[in-house]
Every structure is written in C-alpha cells, then in structure tokens.
Symmetry: C2
C-alpha cells in the first residue's frame, strides 16, 4: 500500500528538474500576507527572488526597500511600467477586486503572473482577468499553494491510483480568525466590495479547490448557507456548503471568526485519509491514513507550501511549462462560489454544468 | 477548564441513585442487533434482566430460550398478551415499520417501552406510536444510546456551561457497511417499505440526535442530498445533510457502504471537541479537546453505552422518572429526517418551524 509507506515522499518535489536561472519577482501588494508570508517564501526559494515591491503606502515602500534591498514603486508607477527591467514576473496579493487591474497591468508589460485566490470578485471579472493573460500570451497561475504541498500531491497520486477505492465523500473545513491578533475590523477582507465575499471567498475556497484537485473532478451542483453570528456584518462570517461531484459529495465549512482550525478528509470504499491543520500556512500537518492494509499516522508532514508555490511557479517559467493551477482553475472556483451564494439566496440547489 | 480535567468523569453515571429492584425485559425482535448487542447489554445491566424473547423464527426462539433460560413467544402471542406476567417492560428492535404495532401492543398490556430508532417510518406513524403510549400512560424511551454514554453527557454539560463558548457548528458522520461481514442484501434495512429510508434513517439519525442533545437546540431548517453509488438501490445509500439550528449549523453525512467510520465534532468560539469512533456500539472512543486552556486527547473513554441505555431506562422505571430521550425526542428526529428527504426531492431548503 503505497500511501501507507510513503512518508519519505512527503518532502519530494516531483516536478523539480533542477533548471538553471532565477525568476525575478515583483510583489504587488505588501499587506500582512504578502509581506510576512509570501515575500519570505520567495526569498527562500531556489528559483525565484524578490526584486521589486509595489505598495501604496510610502512607509511600507521605505521599510521593504531597506529590509530587502529592492526597488519599490507605487501602484500608479507599477501600472505605467516602472521598473519592468527589474522583474520577470508578478505576484498579485492585493484585495480581490484589485486583482483584475493589477493582472491586466502585468499582462500589458508582458510579465507572467501568479495571482492570489480568489481570482476576482465576480465571474465576469475573473474571466476578464484570465482572458487578459491569454490575449497577452503571459503565463497565469492561481496561487493555490496547497496544490504544491508534497503531502497533497502524494494524496492526489494515491487517489488517482485507486488506493482509496472510489472516493465518495470529502469533508473540509477552515476557520481563520480574521479579527484575531492585532487585526482590527478596518481591513479589506471585511469590505464586501473589495473582498467580494467573506468566509467562502477567503478560506472556503481552500477545501473547495483542494478537493477538486485531489479528485480531479468538477462540481455539478451546490447547496449552501451563509450566516453571521458576531462582529462580521458586511460579508459572510460563516458558510456551510455542499458540492456535488460526479460520484462524490464534498461537505465544506468555513468561518472568519473563532479558533483557527482546518482539516480535509476523504472517504473511499477502500480507505480514508484525514489531513489535520490542512490549510494554515507554515503549519505542521498530521496525516491519518486508514486502508485495508492498516492505519498510519504521519506527523509533521509536508514542506512550507508557500515556498513550494513560488518555486513551482518559477520552475514552470524557467522550463517553459504551464502551471497546473492556472487561470481557468481559479475561474472555476469563482463560478462555483458564486453558485453557492446564489444557492444560499434562493434556498435551492444550483446546478453548475447543466 | 473542567472538560480538560474530566477524564475520570467519563465513566461516571450522573443519574444513578442505586435503587433496589430489577426491571424484567421482553425483547421484541431478536435479529442481529437485538440478539447480539442488546440482549447481552440487558443481561449485563444492574437494573434490568432479560426474561422474555419475542421472535417470528422458531429456531431463534429455541436457541434464545436455551441460551438464556427465558420464555420465548412469537409475535402473535406477544400481541395477544402472552407472558405478560413475566416482564415489566418491552424493548422493541423490530424493523422500523413494525415499531408502531409492537409498541401499541406493549402499551395495551400496560408495559413501559424502549423503542429502537428511528421511531417509525413516517411522521404520522411515529406520532401515533407516541400517542399510544401517552394514552395508555406507559413510559416510552427512544433508544438513543449515545445520550447515556458518559462521554456524551459530559460534553453536554461542558457545552451547557459555556466551556466551548458559543457553539457555531457541528460536524458528524457515520458510515456503517450494511452489506459487510456475513450480511447479505436480503435484509429489512434495504427494504424501503420496512425501513422507511436508508443511510439517513439508520445511521444519519445518530449525528442528528446527538447534536440536538449536545446543543439542547432544535432544527429550524434543513438541506440535503441522497445518492446511490453501488449495490443499494431501494433506499438512500448515502446522505449528506445540513441542519440549521438557531446560531449553529450541523453538517452531517451517513452511508450504508464503505469502511466503518464515525465522528462528531463541535466548533465553539472558545474551544473545539472531536469525538472519534463516535457512534459505533462497543467501540473505544477518542476525545480531542482544544480550548484556550490547552489541548488534551483522551483515549478509550466512555462505557458500553448500550448497557448504559438499558440500565438508565430501568433506573427511570424504578425511580418513577421520565427518560430524557422520550417519544417526543424520537418524533422530532423523524420530522427532521422527513424534511431532509423533502429537501432532497425538491432541491430546496425546507423550514421546520415556520
């Protein structure tokens, strides 16, 4: 039983061909996530390096320029093409509704793009974003870091090889306390216009996309329900949604308040897997596998999947390959999430591919 | 933090006042569950004893009479009042659609009843069952064994005391392989007329009822979806359903095929709990508690909750108390489950208490 024996593979980069070169990255949006999670991951990468920072805040530009010895520009200069000689590709980590103009700018400069999830706040805007890159002939990757985590990649191989039999059900949840720590209520994630949605768009997309990736299957119908119980009022604080795939159902939950928590589980006719601490960045994950061959618990598996994400993206550019989580992958999730909101409003099951 | 410290309490019978006496039990229905799970639990009880067996199969009557030195009768004799001098109360473990006549017979003999879940196959029949006992003035308990498991009782106390903060979400699943082992396809659980439903009625009722019990709350709306992927064709092989409570949502899944699996989890604003191997009879359970005070894993907690169930029922009779999982409790779940089937058929959210 390969999955039970594969603990050493949970560090393996199956895509790495050890190419020469490095991709110089501009980071567009230096908020908490971009600056404190993504920039260090890019800097730690084998195939990418941080060379240009884009921020609207003068103090941030100064601080980042000092800390990393990089050029920094504001959004207007970035859009107009400043510093394009200093970067090869763009990472967009601005609020969701700004992805479209910031990706369009990159495409107009002929730069490859890795864009944060969700791609945009409506299906139409997400489609325009994808088409802008296609028209310009630039590579677009949606920043689905879980798809580059070796644990998730091994799970996908195991599912594809039938090690769990037929997978009939997925469970996933992700709770992120958007107001925790020093984070106050004045942030774009709680602004319905900028974020486009709340728990579903920000964290619910993780179990949704990861399940699509693991099952290699597309949703055919959704049901769902959003609600608010506390301090979040403009966007969905909680979402519970059910996604029907051919032959399987995914039951997903996400929330923007409460204790940090994430898990992903698959039930198959011949085995089950459960990944604990599944979606938080830089967290030690635990994988529990149960099959007819036995039970195994793997602690502290995987690698820093944010570093993996940027190295994978840069590796694709260096080797002329198309990233697997491409723009169409990101667009499919926006379509599904909008259907969940529609199902919630209508109180009805909504079909996706009639 | 009481819940983190309460491992010793996971064996405690909070209801036990050590009364004198024993309740003599007639077991109506000696199929696999009744004969191999419930009869040994009754025999092991402090406050109950097995004195009369009811079966339609002559070989079963002979074998049970020999093994336990009890009187055995067939259904016709039971209904007509045979051996009523030899038992004080009746445990009904026949197929779901036979619960009504078998409980009506007990009520007509003036005997207290503990009736298996689900109470009956329709809301109307379940209500008639409850009303038959109320009219006869006999005690009726629905056989929700989880409500007598000390672990579940401690969890309920912890939730009630606010140890998890506000509980905003429950997760529960139960997979029981109805065709596993020597069990063939010729069984009443797969007969839609006798069973009234499949995965939802047989195993989905566990996470539903246990969550109602833990939250002390009633459903206000449901969504759900049933499906069949394999050998089960007359009833729902799989069900995924979502139950809206005031302030919380329960996401539940149940299946009649695949690997045995059960869990129940609660997310609260101040803590989470997860009970593994939650619903299988006589299984060692693991409880994981995470609160602001820390994390604890309790292995092999609880008692044989089937024995607890019958001792609790008998204790109620000996002390003149009303069992908490009464007929109305069982009726509420039938109402909710029928709403889930309606939601599945209609593809719509169905409200329960308009």
């Amino acid at each position: 039983m390969a999955l039970l024996d594969s603990i050493e593979d949970f560090e393996h980069r199956d895509w790495d061909t050890d190419p020469d070169g490095q991709v110089r990255m501009a980071v567009v949006g230096l908020g908490n996530y971009g600056r404190n999670v993504s920039v260090p991951a890019i800097e730690a990468g084998d195939y990418c390096t941080f060379t240009v920072g884009v921020s609207g805040t003068p103090e941030t530009r100064r601080a980042v320029a000092d800390e990393y010895d990089v050029r920094t520009v504001d959004y207007e200069a970035y859009t107009e093409g400043a510093a394009t000689d200093a970067y090869d590709a763009v990472y967009v980590a601005t609020p969701n509704r700004l992805h479209l103009p910031h990706v369009e700018a990159a495409a107009s400069h002929g730069k490859a793009v890795v864009c944060e999830k969700p791609l945009e706040v409506t299906v139409d805007r997400a489609r325009r974003l994808v088409e802008a890159c296609e028209a310009a002939g630039v590579t677009l990757m949606t920043a689905y870091r879980m798809q580059t985590d070796p644990v998730v990649r091994r799970l996908r191989e195991a599912v594809g090889a039938g090690e769990l039999g037929t997978v009939t059900r997925a469970f996933g949840d992700f709770s992120y306390d958007v107001l925790g720590g020093s984070r106050g209520p004045d942030q774009w994630r709680l602004d319905s216009r900028l974020a486009g949605g709340g728990a579903l768009m920000d964290v619910g997309v993780y179990p949704l996309n990861t399940t699509r990736y693991l099952l290699d299957a597309e949703p055919v119908a959704v049901q769902g329900e959003t609600r608010q119980s506390g301090p979040v009022d403009e966007v969905d604080e909680h979402v519970d949604f059910s996604v029907r795939f051919p032959g399987a159902v995914g039951n997903f939950a996400a929330t923007l308040t409460g204790r940090s928590k994430a898990s992903l589980a698959l039930d198959g006719t011949a085995g089950t897997v459960r990944l604990c601490e599944a979606f938080q960045p830089r967290r030690e994950r635990t994988l529990v596998v149960e099959t007819d061959a036995g039970r195994a618990v793997f602690e502290d598996v995987g690698r820093d999947e944010t570093r993996e994400e940027f190295d994978y993206f840069a590796h694709c550019l260096l080797t002329g390959q198309q990233p697997e989580p491409d723009g169409r992958d990101g667009l499919a999730d926006v379509e599904t999430m909008m259907a969940v909101y529609e199902a919630d409003r209508a109180g009805e099951r909504v079909s996706l591919r009639p």
